[in-house]
């Protein structure tokens, strides 16, 4: 009888979560409709800052979608059992995050109804064009990957498919980094540092998301994480956070060394108002330093600390992307070096950007889509990692 009551309660809670996810997603869709009806005038974006808050959300989800597969890769390619147990969850989260990110990216287009044009007219020199294939390919490959993991008959195929997914997602995140690396004239971008930086960021952000979702699932099922697995996850997250910090430091140091970029670095790291604040306070302090303390302090490092560190990594990643994407555009292009420049089109001026509610809601809508896919997927498929059998 108790079991029945508990199951009914569980089912009710599941539907509540679905309704919550639907509401968030639908609010996002409503915001997108509002933006389409009125034009981008209702957003904070303008002719100087052309990519805004939706891109911060979308790029976070797309980068994390690739990185979250790390766990499945370590499991199926390198045969590590604790990771293998999380392979299906890792695959599901990848599809969910990719769907959420692409939803935001598509709905932010000036002409979202022309999205089919993007699939039918591919410019082969455009990294965006390549990404149409890379994103749709990842969807399909991860679906096959999930099939090989969940269907016993297909298990022998998990390793080769896992290898293919591994190569594909590294290419995909390289492509995401290249979107910015190919922008030759902007001080913030146009460097080969970006693809590897995005790849390492994907590892960190993806693992953080997986840890948060896993913690929610364990909490739901009143289970606690195997200490052995906790130690592995904690160390891996610490390593990824440090690796990201290293690459971010090298990226800024390289810019600082080039005299032509020192004014930009001065802006983004010291004088740029919201941007240095988010970089140092958000990315560095909240998203890097505190998580490292939570992970490596001798008295900390317990499940709740690693969970908090994961949440802070996500917060830090949003701050980093805001500074990188919006701060990078706010700083004026150097068209006339050696001159003080002014015009009616913002030449020589720091561009102003203030995110509006519709674009924030659109971004949240993408998170809602990812949440919804995850919640339903976890319920339909057997996704809960069991470590009793898996622990080495």
């Amino acid at each position: 009888m108790d079991t029945l009551v508990r199951k009914q309660k569980e089912l009710r809670n599941f539907y509540l979560l679905v309704v919550f996810g639907l509401m968030v997603a639908m609010t996002g869709m409503g915001a997108a409709h509002y933006m389409e009806e009125h034009g981008h005038i209702v957003t904070g974006m303008n002719n100087q800052v052309v990519w805004g808050m939706p891109h911060v959300f979308a790029i976070f989800m797309i980068v994390a979608a690739s990185g979250v597969l790390n766990i499945a890769s370590i499991g199926s390619v390198f045969g590590k059992k604790p990771y293998k147990a999380r392979g299906p969850l890792s695959g599901l989260l990848s599809i969910a995050l990719l769907a959420g990110g692409l939803t935001v990216l598509m709905l932010d287009l000036g002409r979202p109804e022309r999205v089919i044009v993007a699939a039918t007219h591919i410019n082969t020199t455009s990294v965006f064009g390549w990404n149409v294939f890379l994103y749709s390919g990842l969807f399909s490959l991860v679906a096959v990957y999930l099939w090989t993991m969940l269907e016993a008959r297909m298990n022998p195929w998990t390793k080769p498919v896992g290898l293919l997914v591994f190569a594909w997602r590294i290419t995909l995140t390289t492509g995401t980094g290249l979107i910015f690396a190919f922008l030759v004239a902007r001080q913030a971008y146009g460097t080969a540092m970006l693809p590897p930086m995005f790849i390492v960021m994907s590892f960190s952000w993806g693992l953080a998301v997986l840890y948060i979702v896993q913690a929610a699932m364990y909490g739901w099922n009143r289970m606690s994480l195997n200490p052995h697995v906790l130690r592995r996850f904690r160390n891996l997250l610490g390593l990824f956070i440090l690796s990201v910090a290293y690459l971010v430091a090298v990226y800024h140091m390289t810019n600082l060394y080039f005299a032509r970029n020192s004014a930009f670095e001065h802006f983004i790291l010291i004088e740029g108002g919201i941007y240095p604040l988010l970089f140092w306070g958000g990315y560095f302090f909240l998203g890097t330093l505190i998580p490292l303390v939570l992970i490596y302090s001798p008295n900390l490092g317990k499940h709740c600390h690693v969970l908090l560190a994961s949440l802070l990594v996500v917060v830090g990643s949003f701050c980093f992307l805001y500074v990188f994407i919006i701060g990078g555009q706010a700083f004026p292009l150097s068209i006339f070096p050696g001159y003080e420049v002014s015009s009616t089109f913002g030449d020589g001026q720091i561009a102003y950007y203030s995110p509006s509610l519709p674009e924030i809601l659109l971004g949240c809508g993408g998170l809602g889509v990812a949440f919804l896919i995850t919640t339903v997927g976890v319920r339909i498929f057997e996704m809960l990692p069991h470590d009793e059998a898996a622990a080495e």
Binding site: N46, H121, N123, F128, F182
Partner: protein
């Protein structure tokens, strides 16, 4: 295995196959269709349209070129952060000498345009006569070209449009920029900005065919020192500036 379990597996299997098919098919099948689009057929590759702007003749308070561009192309002429500006007047002060310069700034009509390289759909394209344009029917409004343009030459249409000019099609949610008055050039006329500058008595904008060694612009470029903006990027722009 129970019947129900088997049904569930079958359902999952079939729906997965369907979703995979639907995801891949558009990309694979329609890829080939993308290669039949004729562009710029009426234009001739023997011509390379360009401009020489003499900054020593450009007056700082004058914006006749901007007004003429707005009138010719049906632009409202606002100067807010979301307003479209195909041409703008830029004021320069040399940081070392204090020398002041004024010049018009617009799409530089590069031979190697970054906007064309990055455009995912091929909406940004270069005509064989060197004019860089946006196909308003293909532009999806991703704004990647605006990120890529080293000259900040492009504007995004942020609001619904009214009273458009029939020979200058525009569209909400798409990107646009100076077309080098392609509608006039195709009729054998000069650009609106060059015409207005001449009418105002400055003659700072010289429009012509860079490929024709006997054209006025080619002769002048041979005679005077001129530069191309951000020439270090190797984009081979069609606009040259004198006096900078």
């Amino acid at each position: 295995m129970s019947d129900m379990d088997s049904d569930r597996r079958q359902f999952i299997g079939r729906s997965s196959a369907l979703v995979a098919g639907l995801t891949l098919a558009p990309g694979m099948m329609l890829y080939d269709l993308a290669h039949g689009r004729p562009v710029g057929e009426p234009a001739s590759s023997k011509v390379r349209w360009g401009m020489l702007i003499d900054t020593t003749k450009c007056e700082s308070g004058c914006d006749e070129c901007v007004k003429a561009c707005n009138k010719e192309n049906g632009l409202p002429g606002g100067t807010g952060p979301t307003d479209e500006q195909w041409i703008r007047k830029v004021q320069l002060t040399d940081l070392k000498t204090g020398k002041k310069t004024s010049l018009p700034m617009m799409c530089q009509h590069c031979a190697e345009p970054p906007c064309v390289d990055v455009c995912p759909t091929g909406a940004s394209f270069k005509r064989v006569d060197g004019i860089v344009l946006v196909d308003r029917h293909l532009c999806i409004g991703c704004r990647y070209c605006m990120m890529a343009c080293p000259y900040k030459a492009r504007s995004f249409v942020h609001e619904p449009l009214h009273d458009q000019k029939p020979d200058v099609p525009r569209g909400k949610g798409t990107v646009e920029s100076c077309t080098l008055c392609v509608q006039r050039v195709d009729r054998g006329e000069t650009t609106a900005c060059a015409e207005a500058c001449e009418k105002a008595g400055h003659k700072a904008i010289l429009f012509g065919d860079l490929n024709d060694p006997d054209s006025e612009i080619s002769k002048r470029i041979r005679q005077v020192a001129s530069i191309r903006l951000r020439d270090d990027l190797g984009l081979d722009t069609g606009l040259h500036y004198e006096g900078l």
